[in-house]
């Protein structure tokens, strides 16, 4: 089973990703696209397995506002690690819309981005398959102090100095 970093440890990934509505529905827990979620929300909510939603970096987290309380897993895709939109989407879900479930980074997720991702509210990281997940885990402790306000540290350093 593929592995994930979740809450600072390495665990099995119980979800599979359904890339498009046309892909067959798996028996495992599943992440569906925003499009599929929006058009089949009711049926999907009836499924026996857990269903979460994955967003692409050009999609709007505002579209999920009504479902924030019921969703337990939301994933944000990084088509390439240089696409930084996912960081803003994550903060909005956490800080503006009050999402408290699992927030997962998927796609081009690499060690050197994990620290920033975790500060923006991601708690789960699906590290790119060809990379050593144990190595990536170390990226979460790159810095011991930060200046700004963010999801994991709402008080900026100047209010803590």
């Amino acid at each position: 089973m593929p592995k994930l970093i979740k809450n600072l440890s390495i665990v099995d990934d119980a979800f599979s990703i359904k890339q498009t509505p046309e892909c067959p529905f798996p028996s495992s827990n599943v992440l569906v696209s925003l499009q599929e979620w929006k058009s089949h929300k009711n049926e999907l909510s009836q499924q026996p397995q857990q269903v979460g939603v994955w967003l692409n970096s050009d999609e709007e987290p505002e579209e999920l506002v009504d479902d924030i309380q019921s969703l337990q897993v939301i994933a944000i895709n990084f088509p390439t690690f240089a696409d930084g939109r996912g960081y803003s989407i994550a903060r909005l879900l956490r800080e503006r819309y009050g999402y408290t479930g699992e927030l997962r980074a998927i796609g081009d997720v690499l060690r050197d981005q994990l620290f920033y991702m975790s500060r923006c509210g991601f708690d789960t990281f699906s590290v790119r398959e060809d990379r050593d997940i144990n190595d990536a885990l170390e990226g979460l402790s790159d810095f011991s102090e930060v200046y700004q306000t963010s999801t994991e540290q709402p008080k900026p350093l100047f209010r803590r100095r």
Binding site: Y87, Y116, F143, T149, P154, K155, P156, R159
Partner: protein, 551 residues
């Protein structure tokens, strides 16, 4: 200037350690070229024509004598014994080995310096007025605000992978020496009718391929809201800036596409959500930061009477004083610009020996501090007028007193095709040829205040769009040509130059510049500057002269 506490030190040390690891993983092949690229860029490391180029942050141009000596030491140990002052007030090394960069970062960290965000698609090192805190025309010292922005933008988790680079400048004086109109965000300190302090906010200015002057999206932002408002701008840009085409990815394109009014409304909407949040600046923090920028202990009883005699006796000193010395806000003191524009010297380059020597001058005469300027010179900001003569003699002996500040020979020039792999054409030898053409000081002074800005390619590191005369290197079928623009202005009257016509070959450039200057000299009214004459008579007479057939 600002001094790190344990928090700042920790963050910079963590970054140096992180970068060492990234370099090791790259060398071991665990990181691909593509993956290492943004990591090294966010640390100021470019891979250039002959060697990597490392850009060191000099936040808003402030550098201590101790720091400058360290730069000198690094230049001897890891480079070729010199450094370059960039047009964004930073310091560049042209020859470090990629493998030695982690050691350079450790050396920098030991003097509270770093290379964080001096490049890459992130918020770059903030720039400001190189006369901040000492300028006679200053309304408010911008440096505390620059430091507040520096800390906020350093390793910001949300804005490290923006669509494109992002530059912020702050001005607090009547004259705009920070060129805020051509930055992604330009902040001008203002006081409103109620007497409250805040910022006028301009967004979407920039040079490069699509030069645009920034639009004012807010006339008055109360100062405590600075960071939340910046956060709103950056978030909107991060989400909606174009990522499909790097030439259309700067915020200026987004502002233009939406219109400044719509963009301003979008920022206002986003801001309402974050306004008054934890990032709202506290009075205590502003006071804490401001204490680092309180004026030094100025001597109130300086006898400046000696200057007149010295001028009478030493014409060269008088010339230097007229051009390289600026009025200070405190009577009895002057601001000295250290010219890095000696003829035959690449503009902005400074040797290790010169760095050590002016670090000593700063200690002995200027409270141990210096500044770098985006015009590629350095500044000793607090010189007693009764010591100006001594300082001039010492600078002169170091070849750092060329009396040419603000003249045609004070050329802003990117490193160009001699170093930069992006450049279309060489810039340094052409700049030298122009300097030689105008080597006669009487002629140079007769021409008066003028700016000549020179970029080796359309990325515009030499800010050619905002030079009174702008030179741009272009490539035509493998040959180097130079396009000339006139009428640019980086001051508070920000204007972009207009191209006069087809480009010229390298050897023709000094002749053409001379012809353009002649048009000015013939047409000027008394005391009119080049730019004023240009604005009055228009481009046509210049064009006509530049392309006239030889008689």
């Amino acid at each position: 200037m600002y001094k790190y506490d344990t928090y700042d030190k920790q963050i910079v040390a963590d970054r140096a350690r992180q970068y060492r690891g990234q370099t090791e993983r790259y060398i071991e092949g665990e990181l691909s070229d593509n993956e290492f690229l943004p990591l090294r860029l966010q640390n100021g490391l470019y891979v250039q024509r002959f060697a990597p180029m490392l850009r060191i942050a000099v936040p808003y141009g402030m550098i201590s004598s101790v720091q400058l000596r360290k730069i000198s030491e690094i230049s001897r140990r890891f480079d070729k014994g010199y450094a370059h002052i960039s047009t964004r007030q930073n310091i560049q090394f042209n020859w470090p080995a990629l493998e030695s960069v982690p050691d350079i970062l450790d050396a920098l960290a030991s003097v509270q310096m770093h290379a964080i965000q001096t490049s890459g698609n992130c918020i770059r090192s903030v720039t400001s007025d190189h006369f901040a805190g000492v300028a006679a025309d200053e309304l408010e010292d911008p440096r505390p605000w620059c430091e507040i922005i520096r800390q906020w933008s350093t390793l910001h988790p949300e804005f490290a992978y923006l669509p494109r680079k992002f530059k912020i400048a702050v001005n607090g004086a009547t004259e705009d020496r920070a060129a805020v109109g051509v930055h992604d965000i330009g902040l001008t300190l203002v006081t409103n009718t109620e007497g409250d302090k805040g910022f006028r906010v301009q967004v979407g200015g920039g040079l490069g391929r699509t030069p645009i002057i920034g639009s004012v999206i807010r006339e008055f932002l109360p100062r405590q809201h600075l960071l939340t408002y910046l956060e709103a701008i950056l978030r909107v840009y991060n989400r909606y800036g174009r990522r499909d085409n790097k030439y259309k990815a700067r915020i200026k394109i987004l502002v233009k596409a939406l219109s400044a009014e719509t963009f301003a409304q979008k920022i206002e909407d986003e801001w309402q959500h974050v306004k008054d949040g934890q990032a709202t600046l506290t009075h205590e923090e502003f006071e804490r930061i401001s204490t680092f920028f309180t004026p030094p202990e100025y001597d109130q009883n300086i006898n400046s009477g000696v200057l007149e005699q010295q001028f009478a006796k030493h014409e060269a000193f008088a010339q230097w004083h007229q051009h390289n010395v600026t009025e200070h806000k405190i009577a009895g003191y002057s601001i000295v610009t250290v010219s890095l524009k000696a003829t035959a010297q690449a503009p902005g380059d400074i040797s290790a020996e010169q760095m050590d020597a002016i670090a000593d001058l700063a200690d002995n005469y200027s409270f141990g501090e210096l500044r770098t300027t985006h015009l590629q010179n350095m500044v000793l900001a607090d010189i007693r007028q009764d010591q100006l003569f001594e300082v001039w003699q010492k600078l002169n002996a170091l070849d750092l007193a060329s009396p040419n500040i603000g003249t045609l020979n004070d050329i802003i020039c990117c490193p160009g095709g001699d170093f930069c792999s992006l450049a279309n054409a060489k810039s340094i030898p052409v700049a030298e040829a122009i300097q030689r053409r105008f080597s006669d000081l009487d002629k140079l002074y007769d021409i008066g205040e003028i700016s000549l800005n020179f970029s080796g390619c359309m990325n515009a590191c030499g800010h050619h769009h905002v030079g009174h005369i702008g030179l741009l290197g272009v490539d035509k079928k493998g040959a180097e040509f130079y396009q000339i623009q006139l009428g640019g202005d980086a001051s508070q009257n920000t204007a972009l130059g207009k191209i006069i016509g087809r480009a010229f070959g390298r050897d023709d450039v000094p002749d053409v510049i001379e012809k353009l200057v002649d048009v000015y000299l013939t047409n000027r009214h008394q005391d009119e500057r080049f730019i004023d004459t240009f604005n009055r008579i228009g481009i046509a007479p210049f064009k006509e002269r530049a392309y006239a057939k030889a008689d």
